[in-house]
Each structure stands twice: as C-alpha cells, then as structure tokens.
C-alpha cells in the first residue's frame, strides 16, 4: 500500500472534519486523526530504522520530536475536555476556552509538522 496514499487518506479525512459538525466535534476529529497520522509516520520511521540503522543521535532527535508532539497533544485533550464541559453546561467563558483549545491545536499541529519534516529530512519517504 502506498505510503503517500495512506497519509493522503488521513489528510483528506482531516479536511472533511469540519463538514456539518460542531466545533467540539471538529476539534476532536482533528486531534484524533492527527494521532493516527503520527502513529503511521512513526511506523514508517520504524521501517527506516530497521533498514538503515540511523545513528543514536538521529533517533534521539526523532524521539524528542515525537515526545514534544505527544505533550502538546495531551494539552489539547485537556483543553478539549474543558471546552466540552463548558459547552455542555453552557458555562460562561466557553468562548475563552475555545480560544485556548484553538491555540493548543495549533501548537500540536506545528509539533506534528516538525516531526514529519524531521523524518522527511532524514530520508523517510512519507
């Protein structure tokens, strides 16, 4: 199965997340599909590591990039849970939380992109 096609699948699905959904659903779908795509990317890295045996330094860079994304993803989920709770109970301040959630999603998206760029730079065909 083409790696490009599997990544494109996730990307296209991510593009469709906003169709006919609530902001909460959109955020959740974006975040969850991001986790799927990162997991796939790490699978390609695993194959690359098995084949080309990159240095420990390179592996460490990828590990750190992955863990940076992971930390950001956890923050997104915390913000998402808070947003979901405020929207459900119609608590005042949901707009503020929505902004925090958007920022967290943007940060995690950047960290994900940094990870993918690093893998590509090391020669992994994504």
């Amino acid at each position: 199965m083409s790696k490009i096609r599997s990544f494109s699948l996730v990307a296209v699905l991510a593009l469709l997340v906003a169709c006919g959904t609530t902001p909460n659903q959109t955020a959740y779908r974006t975040v969850a599909t991001t986790r799927v795509s990162v997991t796939e990317a790490m699978g390609f890295w695993n194959v690359y590591v098995g084949q080309f045996h990159p240095s420990a330094d390179k592996e460490l860079l990828v590990k750190n990039a992955f863990e940076k994304w992971q930390a950001a993803q956890i923050v997104v989920c915390d913000m998402g849970a808070l947003y979901s709770a405020t929207v459900t109970t119609n608590t005042a301040g949901s707009t503020g939380v929505s902004g925090l959630l958007e920022n967290a999603i943007a940060n995690a998206a950047q960290d994900r992109q940094d990870l993918l760029d690093l893998l590509t730079r090391f020669g992994v065909k994504l």
């Binding site: 083409s2 096609r5 959740y28 799927v36 890295w45």
Partner: protein, 59 residues
C-alpha cells in the same frame, strides 16, 4: 468534492487499518469530557520504543 470522495473510497478499501481507526473517530457524536480523556490516554500511552521496536535506543 466527488473526486475527493472517490479517492477516499479507494484509499479506505486499500488501507482498512487506518479506515477502521478513523471510522470510529468520525462515528462519534459530540465528544464528552470522557471522550477527550480517552483520547488523552490514547496519546499518553504511546511510547517511542513501542512505535519503533527496531530502535537501538535504550528503553
């Protein structure tokens, strides 16, 4: 849009593993705090060594 959906259909057929994961995500109604917590746990449980078993790094 039709072209995207056609591509999607073929890609989903070819990658059932990804399709299953994403299908579950998309079939969920408005996520609750518990759904977000589950997604948090799913992200937190991932480890480098688990995803990269070929790694030479110490665990």
């Amino acid at each position: 849009m039709i072209a995207i959906l056609a591509f999607l259909e073929k890609a989903v057929e070819a990658e059932p593993r990804i399709a299953d994961s994403v299908k579950k995500i998309f079939s969920k109604p408005d996520p609750t705090p518990a759904d977000w917590q589950a997604e948090r746990d799913a992200a937190r449980q991932l480890t480098y060594k688990q995803l990269v078993p070929n790694s030479q790094l110490p665990s």
